[in-house]
Symmetry: C2
Subunit: 193 residues, 2 copies
């Protein structure tokens, strides 16, 4: 193994995989250390606590999410802006599956942690931006279903499809963008029912 790979990076990656698969609360420092090939104490040398390890593991992805959602909220409400947002969002999901998986599945029980709160604030900002104007409830739901559906379809996909039909990421990307575009791009002109 090349000495280029640093222990802290290996530990961070092992932790991310553990958090995503068995959950944060159920992950022990011992398991993480074992998976990375280090001792439990080495983990606590590189990261002051289990929470610090979570911060390091999913923090970067949360950073991306913040800028992604922030840009969309700040930007115009034009159809073109929506289109690029959809693409960015899908790419974000595909490029940060483990972190998204962790946040989606464990976020509720991790309220109060700085990383989690940052993500929640960003998401709430998006929700407010969608709901503030007098948009009909169905429109708000369409947005929620689209983003939550895309997110959780990938998360559930990781859960169910892992062993079997391994679809190519490129096809998934295209199909997801297609469905989200259907839902969101022509939303203004849709009937309420």
């Amino acid at each position: 193994m090349p000495s280029r790979v640093r222990a802290s990076d290996e530990l961070r990656q092992a932790a991310l995989e553990q958090f995503a698969t068995v959950g944060f609360a159920a992950s022990s420092l011992q398991q993480i250390a074992d998976h990375a090939g280090y001792s439990k104490s080495s983990v606590l040398y590189h990261y002051a606590s289990k929470e610090a390890l979570l911060e390091a593991a999913i923090g970067p992805a949360i950073d991306l999410l913040e800028t992604l959602l922030g840009d969309f909220v700040a930007g115009g409400r034009t159809g073109a802006a929506r289109a690029t947002f959809i693409e960015s969002f899908v790419d974000f999901l595909l490029g940060n599956r483990l972190a998204v998986h962790t946040f989606v599945n464990q976020g509720q029980s991790l309220r109060g942690l700085p990383v989690i709160e940052r993500a929640n604030t960003a998401i709430r900002g998006l929700a407010d931006s969608i709901c503030d104007d007098d948009a009909p409830l169905a429109e708000q739901m369409r947005f929620g279903v689209a983003l939550a559906g895309a997110t959780y379809t990938l998360v559930a996909g990781a859960t169910f499809l892992d062993d079997e039909q391994k679809v190519a990421d490129g096809d998934v990307r295209e199909a997801l963008i297609s469905v989200l575009s259907e839902l969101l791009l022509t939303a203004d002109s849709r009937p309420t029912r």
Copy 2:
């Protein structure tokens, strides 16, 4: 307090609320006992183990889900069947928020438990039924996004909207059915892109 309410029911309800809010792993028998006004040992008298408590808490909802999905898979692929399925599914979500919340947020880390596996089997059966025929990937995604989106929108709604704008359940029901119908009812005639 009327002696009509049984201790086991109170404990089951308290456990469900704990599991849904702080998660299964993070919930302690002590907390559950405190919330219900009993001692930790009383919990273990009524339920042999923490897992048995989970079974009792979300089992009934999983039963409903099994029949719901089973009926749809067994039934025809007609538009009318889809319409009634959408309505039943939304009603199921609205009527079992805490159980759904628990399964969605904790299910991944609880693999192997009988209740969880029953639900996973039912969901996989639905997924197979949708994917078995040569449906295009976008159509499969549309189904996934619709059901996962509806599910997680309500779950996230419980997370974010609890304190503020308390939308009436009736309106949510109508809006959700509307969005799901848009996505699923005319799916056969949609273009791939």
